[in-house]
């Protein structure tokens, strides 16, 4: 009797969570930031992504999870055309930023000013902390010292790094910081130019747990002002930081990456619709 009551209470709570999630998904669906419709990506003759259709909502954190080789990094890097340098790499179908096709109508340089990126390994320039953050601003033509000072401080504050480095902005090299600080410096560098979207390619995979925690807190706060897409190997991290989760998998025969399921994070992790998603998030993936 007791047990049955508890179960029904749990179930109703569960249903409520799902309803909330669905509501939130419905709310956000009309403000889509990045949309892919049957998007395919090729390296020469090899198809790396097949028929990706996804709507990434604005001002939310979207996590892309999946096993190695499933194409999640390829998809992320397709969003700001980082593949342009790779010979033979090309995208087909529609991948749109605010309704404008990324492969076609957008100039890659202008696109990348709107879509920033944080890489797997912290990669600050061998320059002072200040110059690291000001770099993108200078590239975009801002020369006024006062504006630079102000924007550098804002970016460092938002990246939760200001207090740790404010005394040695010009003296210390960006490479002299610890790994976690370096990654926050890279985040500050990316947000200093005020992009609309920030892509993060496994930003914590080279960091220790405490530094990881700080970055995750930061991602939460930043999602208020930026659309964040994060690729991660770590399912707990996806659960902690993201609002929406996409699960990708490599097709066994063609080795092309496919999107299996996309939805609110709690739904993906608690009530996945696809058997393969369930196997993966519960760790039963073979």
């Amino acid at each position: 009797m007791d047990e049955a009551a508890q179960q029904s209470r749990l179930l109703s709570g569960f249903a409520k969570t799902i309803a909330q999630a669905k509501e939130r998904a419905a709310q956000t669906s009309h403000e889509t930031k990045i949309e892919a419709i049957n998007f395919n990506f090729f390296y020469g003759s090899f198809q790396a992504l097949r028929n990706i259709s996804i709507r990434i909502p604005s001002n939310q954190v979207t996590a892309i999870i999946g096993p190695s080789g499933c194409g999640k990094s390829t998809f992320l890097r397709a969003i700001n055309r980082m593949h342009d340098r790779t010979p033979g790499a090309r995208g087909e179908g529609q991948l749109m930023l605010d309704g404008v096709n990324i492969y076609g109508d957008l100039d890659p340089v202008k696109l990348r000013r709107r879509v920033g990126m944080v890489f797997q390994r912290p990669n600050p320039f061998v320059k002072s902390i200040y110059d690291n953050v000001a770099y993108g601003l200078r590239v975009q033509g801002i020369r006024d010292r006062r504006i630079l000072d102000e924007k550098v401080e804002t970016a460092l504050r938002r990246a939760a790094l200001w207090d740790e480095v404010k005394d040695r902005l010009h003296k210390a090299s960006g490479t002299a910081l610890s790994g976690g600080q370096q990654q926050r410096l890279c985040i500050a560098r990316a947000i200093a130019v005020e992009p609309e979207v920030i892509l993060m390619d496994e930003p914590c995979s080279a960091l220790d747990p405490i530094a990881t925690m700080k970055i995750e807190d930061l991602i939460h706060e930043l999602s208020a002002s930026f659309t964040i897409v994060i690729v991660t190997h770590n399912m707990q991290q996806a659960m902690r930081v993201s609002d929406m989760t996409a699960f990708m998998l490599m097709d066994r025969e063609t080795r092309a990456g496919e999107l299996i399921e996309f939805g609110p994070t709690d739904e993906i992790f608690t009530n996945p619709k696809d058997k393969r998603t369930e196997d993966y998030v519960t760790g039963r993936f073979g």
């Binding site: 980082m82 340098r85 010979p87 202008k110 990348r112 990126m117 890489f119 061998v126 993108g136 590239v139």
Partner: protein
């Protein structure tokens, strides 16, 4: 069983015995090869030093500032030798070569490494390397037969008759000889171009992709990526490439001998015949009749050696100077 044990033991012992000295022997062998290089350098220095003794004792330091060159002893004119024409000729022709070649060659390297469509990359790289492999006498022949007449007719003469009347080092009355520092410098620049271009390309392709991607992701253009990320990262290597080119220009003998005019005097203009250290030594040493003449030529060779050494040292200093300070260090 026991027997198998025993054979295995001896096998192990055999292996141990066989390998116990191997590393030591290999170390000693390679060490002796490396020492051979040092011995060679010192041997060369010692030979040039001792063989030039006669000239050093007779002329002293004045040798390097004197422009006299009279190898034939007569009662009126005693022999006199000076290194000034050779040193000036070497430095000026190499400087011309470097100024003309370095920007173009670095541009070629950047194009090949960063901008070239993949279809063109392999054939173009191959052509550049082929250019570096052409023996210098062929450049010399082309220079003498084709370039020098053309240049004298269409460039040197008109310039010396117009601007040359005002600018002193572009005029002169021996322009028609078709030999001179400028022609030699231009041919040298063509010769060192592929060396600098090929090494610049190699150095740039070694720059890690992450360096480019960071800047790309900040909304930089290709131009900005190249000049703000790729070239600064590889600057030590590019300076090295330019120094290798300079080294080739300083020491180039055959093409310089064929085109510089072999006139051991400090020229007044770039169009006049002159000489370089390498070409002077190469063309006169075999015909030297007197010991003092031979000795003076060896001393010029020693001076060339010293110049090369000094320039290489200053390049090292330059790289060190650019990379010092709290932020910034060498790579590539």
């Amino acid at each position: 069983m026991a027997q198998a044990q025993a054979t295995r033991e001896t096998f192990r012992e055999r292996i141990a015995k066989r390998t116990q000295h191997g590393d030591g022997i290999f170390w000693g062998l390679t060490l002796s090869f490396a020492l051979l290089v040092i011995v060679l350098v010192f041997a060369i220095v010692w030979v040039t030093w001792s063989d030039s003794q006669l000239a050093r004792e007779r002329f002293g330091w004045a040798f390097f500032t004197s422009g006299e060159w009279n190898p034939v002893e007569t009662p009126v004119n005693p022999v006199s030798f000076g290194a000034m024409p050779a040193i000036v000729g070497t430095l000026v022709s190499s400087a011309i070569a470097l100024i003309l070649a370095a920007p173009v060659a670095i541009g070629i390297g950047i194009f090949l490494a960063e901008l070239c469509p993949p279809v063109l990359r392999t054939p173009l790289s191959f052509m550049v390397e082929l250019l570096a492999a052409i023996p210098s006498v062929i450049y010399g022949v082309w220079g003498v037969m084709v370039f020098a007449p053309f240049f004298t007719q269409n460039v040197a003469m008109p310039i010396s008759q117009t601007i040359g009347q005002v600018v002193p080092w572009l005029g002169g009355d021996r322009v028609s000889s078709g030999r001179g520092l400028l022609i030699a410098g231009i041919i040298l620049s063509i010769m060192i171009l592929p060396t600098i271009a090929a090494i610049t390309r190699d150095v740039l392709t070694l720059v890690p992709n992450s360096q480019r991607e960071v800047l790309l992701a900040l909304g930089a253009t290709k131009w900005e990526v190249i000049w703000l990320a790729v070239v600064p990262y590889a600057r030590a290597g590019i300076i090295g490439a330019v120094m290798l080119g300079l080294g080739r220009a300083l020491g180039e003998t055959m093409a310089a001998t064929m085109l510089v005019g072999n006139r051991p005097q400090v020229p007044e203009t770039l169009f006049e015949p002159a000489t370089t250290a390498a070409s002077l030594v190469a063309s006169e040493l075999v015909n030297a009749q007197t010991l003092i003449h031979e000795s003076a030529l060896v001393l010029i060779a020693l001076a060339l050696f010293a110049i090369t050494l000094l320039l290489n040292l200053s390049a090292r200093l330059l790289i060190w100077y650019m990379n010092r300070g709290p932020v910034g260090r060498t790579r590539a």
